[in-house]
């Protein structure tokens, strides 16, 4: 019999990511490309492996094909373990019938048998749509030190943004006294990051109770945390002070990519002690042509650049021809920008072709009414013809 695991992680990757529209038509949000050679989920998976957590359940539901294939046996993250490792957990049928995951708590509830196999002391619950580097072992240490039942990772947010988050009010020992979801007048600026550490036996009790109570939402933020607080369980806030970004919207996805180009943003992809792992596709090094002009950008393997690139993130296998201009944009894998095309302040999805003469997006300086400005988005596998103009804020997912 295998020994029990002290900590296992459950990664909620079922989100449809409806606010990412064109980019999540066929893939779940955690599988959306980010940062030149990653997908969003790489951060959580790499954090697990770098924190010494070798057992991870990934809960999928919406469009799981790409995500399943991407995770595979977990080898790129060192999560192909003899005992433990990464497991993709999809909704399944039982004698009582089949159910979709109804909320975050219900998703964990439905997979209690997976957790019980490892008989863990602690379970870490993670979202699959955040960009951050975090040592979960410190979270567990903190949880143990406080003899906590639950520990919620929090980040200090600017006061004016606090009403967008779940806000924790804590006492002097960082014990949570109140939790309010999206308060109009926030009492504190400590926002929940959607990262929890629970003592498993305690969580199990609350999951079962919540399931039986049938609240409808079956959610950690709406149900589990409030009922634990109501019963005076020991809940603590663990303050995280690194870079953390929710990439739930197209704007925030674009910003999070641009953050990588800012010297003042503390998200280092080059730290050998905390590598972010990803599945690779065996492409040759990037070729930078004679006519290329590249400044302040990130470009990865298999790309062929002969045009002008400024403040942009270029994924693998992208071609930018001579005479093409790409500014402040994100070009996802396999996309081709033909000579004479201009792409500015835009996200262009995978395997798109932007024909010569096409114009995607515009700089905010060139627009009179700033209210009209926003990034332009082209979904995956789209051909943008030479006469097409994709306006700011416009989102297209079919050939134009």
């Amino acid at each position: 019999m295998n020994a029990k695991k002290k900590v296992i992680a459950m990664l909620l990757a079922g989100g449809q990511g409806s606010r990412l529209y064109a980019l999540t038509q066929n893939v779940a949000k955690p599988a959306v490309p980010y940062g030149g050679k990653y997908r969003i989920i790489d951060f959580a998976l790499s954090n697990c492996t770098n924190s010494g957590i070798d057992t991870v359940g990934v809960l999928t539901q919406y469009q799981p094909l790409v995500l399943n294939e991407y995770i595979g046996n977990g080898q790129p993250w060192d999560l192909d373990r003899m005992y433990g490792g990464v497991h993709v957990l999809s909704p399944f049928e039982t004698k009582e019938g089949a159910d979709w995951f109804q909320g975050t708590a219900n998703a964990i509830y439905q997979n209690m048998r997976f957790i019980e196999r490892y008989d863990p002391e602690y379970v870490i619950v993670l979202g699959g749509d955040h960009i951050y580097k975090m040592d979960y072992s410190k979270l567990v240490e903190y949880h143990e030190k406080n003899k906590a039942d639950g520990t919620i990772a929090v980040i200090d947010v600017p006061k004016e943004e606090a009403s967008r988050f779940g806000i924790m009010t804590c006492d002097a020992e960082n014990r949570v006294v109140r939790f309010t979801e999206k308060p109009k007048e926030p009492e504190s600026t400590l926002a929940s990051m959607g990262i929890y550490c629970f003592t498993w036996q305690k969580l199990k009790k609350y999951l079962i109770e919540n399931e039986n109570a049938n609240t409808g939402s079956k959610d950690f933020g709406k149900d589990i945390i409030p009922s634990m607080l109501a019963n005076k369980e020991r809940l603590f806030a663990y303050t995280f002070d690194g870079y953390w970004k929710d990439v739930g919207t197209l704007d925030s996805l674009w910003e999070a990519n641009m953050d990588l180009l800012s010297p003042s943003v503390p998200l280092d992809l080059y730290d050998p002690k905390w590598k972010i792992y990803a599945r690779h596709n065996n492409m040759p090094p990037q070729y930078i042509g004679e006519t290329a002009q590249i400044e302040n950008s990130m470009i990865t393997e298999g790309s062929n650049i002969s045009g002008k690139v400024d403040f942009s993130i270029i994924f693998s296998g992208v071609t930018i021809e001579e005479g093409a201009v790409v500014n402040y944009s994100i070009l996802m894998p396999g996309t081709v920008i033909k000579s004479g095309a201009v792409v500015e302040y835009a996200i262009v999805g995978e395997n798109c072709t932007v024909e010569s003469g096409a114009k995607i997006g515009i700089s905010p300086e060139e627009i009179q009414n700033r209210e009209d400005w926003g990034i332009a988005v082209v979904g995956h596998n789209v051909t943008v013809s030479g006469t097409a103009v994709v306006k700011p804020k416009e989102i297209i997912s079919e050939n134009v």
Partner: protein, 375 residues
């Protein structure tokens, strides 16, 4: 593909080490870095895997630490398998006194039990001194059809006496049968040269190996092919794609820079026949505010703040602000400080230069800086 379950690949990772002595000081031929993110052994291994060969033995000799580290379990070449897969064959001293072989046949005699026990009818032999993307399926097919004893892969090459050492020039008749093998002949002009890749039946190879051992012979070319062109049916298979030969530091330099030409690069990195290598998990290349790059091949993990022209940068190279790198090959982990100027320089792994250093070689004689050097 099924036919190739019947084929064993054998890669000689440590032949020709002495031709590029600077680069093999701390490694062996197969682990010499090439093309920005590869090592020479990646090419024969990928060729075999892309040809459906799923059992490969890698025969090493000395300085093979970096090779073992690179190959690991063979997973990156899809050769971590229960049936077949990758086998590392370091020197084994059962048959030869010191265990260090002198040529292919002696090396094979040392590891013959591995070859004998592999389930195969044919063997494909390849060295690591030619860089090419070649499909062995076609070679094997021709070998079967012609019923030759040995099929040797050759390419057309502008040869001259200065071409380097141990060039095997082939003469052939109209049917493609090899009539003579000349080693470093006094010739010049376009010649057919052996690319050091051979196909034969395992049973035939066994005879060659055992016969050579009984006579204290060791060289496949000198002791077998050359004297026995009349006795054996040796056929040539023409490889007409792009290849380069690594037999001196100068040729190593030229072969790397040749990849800047798209016609060469596109023949080496073909869709459908990728070149596999160990994954480094580096971030994307980061270009700074004042970066300038042109006509260069740049691997992931590089951070470019200065100017890079006509160069090959391996993984994790840093080029500081105000520095200019021209016609250079900078291997993995090279760290160039600020305001340096490097022209026609090869830096080995983890070379660091302080700010303001100036190094100038020439295209015909590039400066080579050895591993871990600090300037």
């Amino acid at each position: 593909m099924s036919v190739n379950n019947n084929v064993l690949g054998l890669v000689f990772a440590s032949l020709h080490d002495s031709t590029v002595i600077e680069l093999t000081k701390q490694r062996t031929m197969g682990s010499i870095m090439f093309g920005g993110r590869y090592r020479l052994i990646d090419f024969p291994l990928s060729n075999m895997v892309n040809s459906g060969i799923t059992q490969v033995g890698v025969i090493t000799k000395s300085n093979y630490g970096s090779l073992l580290d690179h190959l690991g379990t063979g997973r990156e070449w899809d050769l971590a398998r229960k049936q077949g897969g990758l086998h590392l064959l370091p020197p084994f001293s059962q048959n030869v006194g010191e265990g260090v072989y002198r040529g292919r046949l002696e090396a094979l005699n040392n590891v013959w039990s591995y070859v004998e026990h592999s389930k195969c009818e044919y063997v494909v032999l390849s060295d690591c001194d030619y860089v090419a993307n070649i499909n062995f399926e076609k070679v094997i097919k021709q070998h079967m059809e012609t019923e030759a004893d040995i099929t040797v892969v050759y390419g057309k090459y502008k040869y001259s006496e200065e071409s380097g050492s141990c060039v095997d020039v082939l003469e052939m008749d109209e049917e493609g049968r090899v009539t003579a093998v000349l080693i470093d002949p006094l010739l010049s002009g376009e010649c057919k040269i052996s690319l050091d890749m051979f196909v034969m039946k395992k049973d035939f190879l066994r005879k060659l190996v055992k016969d050579a051992a009984s006579k204290n012979q060791y060289s496949l070319v000198r002791d077998c092919l050359q004297p026995k062109v009349k006795e054996f049916v040796i056929k040539g298979y023409e490889f007409d794609g792009y290849f380069s030969r690594i037999d001196s530091v100068k040729h190593y330099y030229e072969a790397n820079l040749a990849l800047l030409k798209p016609e060469n690069r596109n023949q080496l990195f073909k869709p459908g026949a990728p070149v596999y290598t160990k994954i480094g998990d580096n971030g994307p290349v980061k270009y700074g505010l004042e970066a300038k790059a042109s006509n260069s091949l740049i691997a992931d993990g590089c951070i470019i703040e200065g100017t890079v022209e006509n160069s090959i940068l391996f993984r994790g190279v840093k080029v500081g602000k105000g520095s200019v790198v021209k016609n250079c090959i900078l291997m993995q982990g090279t760290n160039i400080g600020a305001d340096c100027s490097l022209t026609a320089v090869i830096t080995d792994k983890n070379v660091t230069t302080e700010d303001g250093r100036v190094l100038t070689g020439s295209d015909s004689y590039p400066v080579y800086i050895s591993k871990n050097a600090k300037l």
